[in-house]
Symmetry: C2
Subunit: 400 residues, 2 copies
Amino acid sequence: MIKVAVLGYGTVGSGVVQVIQDNAALISKRVGDDIEVKYILDLREFPGDKNEDKVVHDINVILDDPEVSIVCETMGGVNPAFQFSKDALAKGKSVCTSNKELVENHGPELIALAKQNNCNYLFEASVGGGIPIIRPMNSSLAPEEIVRIMGILNGTTNFILTKMAKEGAAYADVLKQAQELGYAERNPEADVEGHDAGRKIAILSSLMTGKTVKFADVHTEGITKIETIDFEYAAKMGKSIKLIAMAEQKDGKLTALVAPFMIGADHPLNGVNGVFNAIYVTGNMLGDVMFYGQGAGKLATASAVVSDVIECARNLDRTLPVVWDDEKLDVEDYTASERCFFVRAAIGSRSQVLNTFGSINEIRVTDEEFAFVTNKMSEQAFNKLIASVDKVISTIRVAE
Amino acid sequence: MIKVAVLGYGTVGSGVVQVIQDNAALISKRVGDDIEVKYILDLREFPGDKNEDKVVHDINVILDDPEVSIVCETMGGVNPAFQFSKDALAKGKSVCTSNKELVENHGPELIALAKQNNCNYLFEASVGGGIPIIRPMNSSLAPEEIVRIMGILNGTTNFILTKMAKEGAAYADVLKQAQELGYAERNPEADVEGHDAGRKIAILSSLMTGKTVKFADVHTEGITKIETIDFEYAAKMGKSIKLIAMAEQKDGKLTALVAPFMIGADHPLNGVNGVFNAIYVTGNMLGDVMFYGQGAGKLATASAVVSDVIECARNLDRTLPVVWDDEKLDVEDYTASERCFFVRAAIGSRSQVLNTFGSINEIRVTDEEFAFVTNKMSEQAFNKLIASVDKVISTIRVAE
């Protein structure tokens, strides 16, 4: 019998308890031992809940119980989750987390601490919710030099962009709907400004390079400037607009950014809609692979945490390899990356555009403005060219 | 230093050697030890090849060398691969294979033999080429009761169907092109009749249930009866036509079949085109996830074999858990499954159809015939109804 404690009985934590209990028989068969939730740490009481007798309010009850070998940290936030995780690992208890903020801020330290104490710090649920991506990065893709990761890593923004595309609705209206449905927070900044996706691509970039990529070094642009008319242009070109978290590695140099991109009709990320997420990975041998699924949601995220619990249960007293050193990687300036750009400009700028960009394939959906897609060039080169056009309305990057 | 032998220096085997050698530095970092190819077993000589000095013709050189701890079996076929694999495992050497025929026929025996000898029999490359699916099934999806797997598991047929759809070309012509391009064998039966996909879904069904599902119990229908006009109907409905390998589990009963299906526009499998493959898995907690990538090809398949080599190298003298017993599963009659059906019938049968199926949404692309999609019903019920219509031209299953 392997005993587990769950820290935080919120959405994900209660999902973890449900997955472990509802699928107990098959999990037992696959682990070769029963797994049981012994404690649930929460400040609240849960009268009437079938697990109310497992609820404790003092972390030391869990830390001091030698029977508990695995701790699920589903609290979120850095404090007190960081201290609780360190204390558990120091006692040789493996920790499985869905906490991307903590992993992004202190991942290498917690991984090293787990190694020192012969246990594991696993974080499958911290990126992509229920989508298997952290474990595949560490094992299935271990033979590969990963040259690029493109991810739709935030469900809220993908829900908003999908609804804008399908219904021709305005950003502000769709955001309001998303807030009413509970898909967006009252303060939506972390999602809509790309910070959530930025933390996740920082984690994936760290696993990609084996060094530490900080969120602060990821350039982030959100979706707040995307307009309804942008989707009209996109539809005309058979493209969709997605918030893409991208990390590219070339000649040992990494660039990382989060920004809206136009995605062509033939690209597998084009059709990833609503609250679904996907991570498109290019390896130097393997070519392209994609992992698709629910990027959030109670049971999907909980399933990812429980997959880590099973991995820990199969590897008690043994640390699984994760190559993520605390050496900070110097991230390159993202403006060195080359790509095409979609540009909207006022009709009055037409001759300036032609003078600057040469011949263009003009796209029109209204009389007041026109749009075109540039040839492939560095962001630096593009920024210089576009500065010489007076009435640029907006620009969106185009993915290959 | 971990020494590896590669059995068979064909497409996949030479790819395995290339991946291990070209990505040696990063593999070494991720394993914590160097991995080196010591022997290549092949009947042929390879004068001028940079690895010609590693070529041996006698399996016993490899079996008798205690330095070799991992063997890559990339020969294909049951004999002599089966004997070689047994002999290697009996000596405590882990075996990594791309050989679906051997895995489907003797998987549980080889897995058990590996366990007895404290080593591993791994087969990531046997299904889906470079797509990570076997390891995710065994680890990431371990908390899940898998309720359904839908796979595009054969690159040749997907190439043919995609080309028929995009170019309006006839089956025979596209097959000929595929043969000329080397995408289809001169005797294409194993691919186009669904046998290759059938073996692969048998393997996935075994991992899904933990018991042995035999290929012989998988109902297979190929793509040879799909006509150009079927794609006209499909396009009119926004659907695509794919050869789907499907396994469904309900109330402990499993059905499995391979057959062409019409796939709706919003389904993630809809846009999986050309030689790409994808596996769409539904778990009882996780919901839907999809794994996408190159289902064949030298380096993609080789990368999957090398991911197994890395796993073995990280787990020398330790057997990784694979739940696949040799107990044979009684597969249910696939005709009990419920779904919708696309039906084409001659115009003369119109009143019979209306009498039998009630009101229908008629689809017309020509004057001589009409088509419609039935309500959801069991295959048995459908077969009874359709038998009462005289001039049915063809039927295709429709996926949800």
